[in-house]
């Protein structure tokens, strides 16, 4: 019972992290039809920046903030310098993100080396608390709490603000939204920066309980993509659901059949696509 509880909690907390990372991806994808292949790299950028700041200042929270902000700035710079030139051609935009992936991943390798690193949480958090059935690491609970808080904030943003309205409209029908007078480019930029911020913060948070290194960006990108596909492109609720699913499957299979863990996730993806080709909560949006 103990074991099952821990496995379940691991899955849920990992799902929380995946949600934070994938939420940015699904919004960018849903709105701009660009698969941001650099999303995994943004995660790593956030993680390394967070690590550096945390080592320099000793503050974990500052590390999280720095990781998010720096990544957001990087996203902004990329958007205004490169993406403007291929706006509208989503295939070329996707290819562009590949080139960016190559450059930034090598820069990170040059700056930080190839050994796995960890962001260190403050000592007060590095303990386990009693959850009734079993003890469980506090740090993971906190990350889950942050993920839930972020989910609520995102929900409020999307549902209750003007910008959120524009985003939803843009996901449904870009051309019409633009024709109605909304500066769709600005909305794109905002969403892209937001995606970068989310990826960056999830990088620092994830880096606290999972070690990261060169090449991990591909893994986190893959997980995020799977979450986005399962949940449905452009859907935050879908991302939450997908993240929970992937987190649990990952956790359960890693405990029972570790060699087949990734295959199981892929299998789940296939099953979902077989019944709901647009994802669990995706609309049949035009590409």
């Amino acid at each position: 019972m103990n074991q099952a509880f821990i496995i379940a909690m691991n899955g849920i907390t990992y799902g929380g992290l995946l949600f934070m990372c994938a939420s940015g991806l699904t919004l960018v994808f849903g709105l701009m039809q660009v698969v941001n292949m650099s999303h995994g790299i943004f995660y790593l950028v956030g993680a390394y920046i967070g690590l550096t700041v945390q080592q320099g200042t000793g503050s974990w929270l500052l590390g999280i903030l720095a990781g998010g902000v720096v990544t957001a700035v990087v996203a902004l710079l990329l958007k205004i310098s490169l993406f403007e030139r291929v706006l509208g051609d989503s295939q070329r935009e996707t290819l562009l993100t590949l080139g960016i992936n190559l450059i930034i991943s090598d820069l990170l390798l040059a700056a930080f080396g190839g050994t796995p690193r960890n962001v260190v949480a403050p000592d007060t958090i590095r303990t386990s608390i009693n959850l009734g059935i079993s003890r469980y690491p506090l740090i993971r609970i906190i990350i889950l709490a942050i993920a839930i808080a972020e989910g609520i904030l995102l929900f409020l943003l999307i549902r209750k603000t003007r910008m959120g309205q524009y985003i939803r409209a843009g996901v449904d029908n870009k051309a019409m939204t633009s024709a109605l007078g909304v500066n769709i480019k600005l909305v794109f930029t905002f969403v892209f920066i937001l995606g970068g911020f989310l990826a960056g913060t999830s990088g620092v948070l994830g880096g606290t309980f999972m070690s990261f290194t060169q090449g991990f960006d591909a893994t986190i990108l893959t997980y995020s993509l799977v979450v986005v596909i399962i949940g449905g492109i452009g859907s935050l609720g879908g991302a939450a659901l997908g993240a929970l699913m992937v987190g649990l499957i990952d956790s359960i299979t890693k405990a029972l059949i570790p060699n087949l863990s990734m295959i199981s996730i892929f299998g789940a993806l296939m099953v979902v696509l077989a019944f709901r080709p647009n994802g669990l909560l995706g609309k049949g949006a035009k590409r």
Partner: protein, 319 residues
Amino acid sequence: MSNPLLRQKRPIGTWIILIVIVLLALAPLGLSSFSVFLLSRILFMGLAAMSLYVLMGLGGMLSFAQMGFFGVTAYSIGITTTKLGWSFGAGIVFGIIMVLVVTAVFALIAIRTSGNYFLMITLAFGQMLYLAALQWVELTGGFSGTTAIPVWSFLSTRTPMYYMIFAVVLACYLFLKRVTVSSFGIALQGVRDNPAKMAALGFNTQLLRYVAMLLSGLMAGLSGMLSVMFYTMISPNTLVMTNSIMIMFMVLVGGSKKLEGALLGSAIYLVMQDFVSQYTERYQIIIGVFFIIVVLCLPQGFLGLKLRGRRTKKAGAAP
């Protein structure tokens, strides 16, 4: 019976290709060991790039699974020969069958998706194969991979191996060339350009794309086989996502609209890599910058440049 007015002169492109083939055939006689090795790598990586061309250039489907298929054959050969003691020939047959089976199953799911979804699912699949290669240590040797694969002994020297690779790649190239001008190839390009119209015209677009995937999987697998012959080993590092990006780079920089572009791109990439890595370890950044430049300024790749020049002479000729 042939009317001199209707007889077409071979376009200059064909002559260039013929000359290149002849030069490649003669290469081991004149070039240094190093160059022959480089050419060997250009050729079999070019085959991997050609496999992507089938999907990307002809079918308009960006795929990140190619290196995965490459790995399926390579590992199949490696595992059956080192762990089960099979002969190399048997390993090759098994490797080819495996990649076809894997592709056949994967393609059933993948063709249900298109565009960005397709890209994502091939990425997930490629990554899954990479992680399987890395983590299933008992089977694959984990991080160090499967080594000391007992390749046919006549392949242990430079020249026979080059000719083996050259022969296979040439055969595949000729075959794919034939495919691009066949009714299948043209229909596939139709699906790339306007799937709705093709469906309305009565073509089975799903079947076309499915066959394209099988073909590309086979080519990628053959490329994996050649790499096993060349390196006598396979490691998970070959299957990382970065390499799939490199193959995409090859197809793009050479020219995604032409089959030869894949080979040209392979040459450009490997030469650049060799050249730049003499000066710095950071060659990946240079490739990345180049990649971006190509996407922004040279969307048709280098071969596209030549095409544009000729287009002004033959007005109305299709690209």
